[in-house]
């Protein structure tokens, strides 16, 4: 368990060093977007690995963060922190409204409900033209600044993103080690037993789900205020799927799976420029292959390799 904090320290140092070492803005930007993906994936990993529930609408929550914060800053000129806070609160409320009826039930109703919500949100991003700019997108989103200091270069913004990634990981690791984490792990293995020990199963699932959606929204906010222009296709169903692929690829039962999976899938398009039309299918194939041949994901693989090395020495 101490190991997790040590690992996080290593990641933090790497995140501090990389923007300075990387050879150009392009690579820094890749690293920046990787951070955003990992942030969103981290929330989903808590939901899938600890509450045992799937969300197929995380792209929608990601979009809610981006659009609410973006629109408030672009149309009404709200300062970024206030707009961001508003976006986080609104996302938490919507997540609560969806999660409350579905998470009380046994089974996987949340997956279908979030799938539906993701579709609805996408329709809204396209249809509410006066707010979202419709299919042509929303421009004029304010960049982030602290007083007169503008975080408008990839390098500066990258530090903001990764600082939040590290803090979110710290929070999540703490959480898993706390009473709440104990309860979450318990209900993952047996809801019945957990409930007879005084654990309000639905409440804990709901808390994780809402937290998970808030992290997704935070990712969206970071994305919107960096790019300063957003359009609906970024927040479509395929991104929700990609997030699920990240978690499964990285390893469902460890928070570090979100880091590895998120990093891997963020880099994949850089290596496979000509993927284009095949990308959809490749995502699905990765998902199936990992489930069948490597159910523990990359983290599981690394653990096995680690055990082998230790076993031989």
């Amino acid at each position: 368990m101490k190991k997790d904090y040590l690992l996080l320290l290593v990641v933090a140092l790497a995140a501090f060093a990389l923007p300075m070492i990387l050879p150009g803005d392009y690579y820094v930007e890749v690293f920046l977007f990787m951070g955003i993906n990992i942030l969103v994936a981290l929330g989903l990993s808590l939901l899938m690995g600890y509450a045992g529930q799937i969300s197929l609408g995380h792209a929608g929550f990601y979009g809610m963060g981006a659009y609410i914060s973006g629109a408030l800053s672009a149309h009404l000129g709200w300062p970024v922190p206030l707009a961001a806070l508003m976006a986080l609160v609104a996302t938490a409320l919507v997540a609560g409204l969806i999660g409350w009826p579905t998470l009380r039930l046994k089974g996987h109703y949340l997956a279908m409900a979030t799938l539906g919500l993701g579709i609805i949100l996408y329709i809204l991003f396209v249809q509410l033209r006066s707010i979202t700019g419709g299919a042509s997108g929303l421009a004029g989103i304010q960049p982030v600044h602290i007083g007169g200091f503008y975080l408008d270069t990839p390098r500066r913004y990258c530090y903001l993103v990764w600082a939040l990634v590290i803090l979110s990981f710290l929070f999540s690791i703490n959480l898993v080690r706390s009473r709440t984490g104990l309860a979450l792990r318990a209900l993952h293995y047996s809801e019945v037993a957990a409930s007879t020990l005084g654990i309000d199963v639905a409440k804990y699932k709901l808390q994780v789900f809402v937290f998970s959606c808030v992290l997704a929204a935070l990712g969206g906010i970071l994305y919107a205020h960096y790019i300063t222009f957003i359009s609906p296709e970024t927040f479509g169903f395929m991104y929700s799927i990609k997030l699920v692929v990240m978690i499964v690829l990285g390893g469902m039962y460890s928070l570090w799976g979100a880091l590895l999976g998120g990093a891997f899938l963020s880099l994949l398009p850089e290596f496979l420029h000509r993927l284009e039309d095949f990308e959809v299918m490749v995502n699905g194939l990765i998902l199936l292959m990992i489930l069948i041949f490597l159910p523990g994901g990359l983290v599981g693989l690394l653990q096995k390799i680690g055990e082998k090395i230790r076993g031989h020495s």
Partner: protein, 291 residues
Amino acid sequence: MAQLVQYIFAGLTMGVIYALTGVGFNLIYNATGVINFAQGEFVMLGAMFLYTFQEVLHWPPFISLPLVFLMGGLVGVVFEYGVVKPLIRLGVITVIIGTIGASVVLKGGAMLVWGKNALAVEPLISEKPVAFLGASLNTQVLVVLMVTAIAVAIFWYFFGFTILGKAIQACSVNPLAARLAGVPVERMITLSFCFSGALSALAGGLIAPITLAEYDMGTMLALKGFCAAIIGGLGNNPGAMVGGLLLGVMEGLSAGYLSSGYKDALAFLVLILVLFWRPEGLITRGKGERV
């Protein structure tokens, strides 16, 4: 009045598609406890198969449509052996993620094979519209309703009156008892997948001439088929039929009288409301729940 009839029939047409998809969900759910997120892709494949048989190979409808049905059954069986069987021992959540993966593979594959554009499919019968209560009804609508009625009648007979049908039902109620009574449970599960694929593909074949065939039509149809199943109570086939028709008519009316842009939001709203107030479905037969 004429307009109302028009909307209701338009709704019913879509409704039977949702109903068939919902029954497809139920068959797999009853056999394995898994919600199959690739169900919508089965429907999409049905539409694509019909396009291929009819528009590319120019086969007549009375050959194409049954062939779509058979191909759908094949897809269901391949799906069971390729995705569900290898994963089921790892737990239900893993299988569900697997079905999500499979749906993406099918969708991406269909995009590569049939392209990104919506494909037009000729109506199965091209006759003049029929007048009914002042409304003029497209003959395709009548074909959809008739074929579905026949399919439902066959299914009703199959599950209600044949040994095989009863064996499948027995497996879904109590697999252990069914096994002890000598029912080959494995084969019954495969049959469930086969029927589930066949019915969904049939739905796709029926709808293709009305809504066009498109590689990404599946997600939305899955959501609505699932909604139909939930209205009827997950696992309850007659319930899913009623649920599908109900949803279709509601959609038809809201598209007609309110706004067509938000028509697709309705299914989601209904889904959430039903899960909120009556998660066991609106149409329950008053028997004890499964524990």
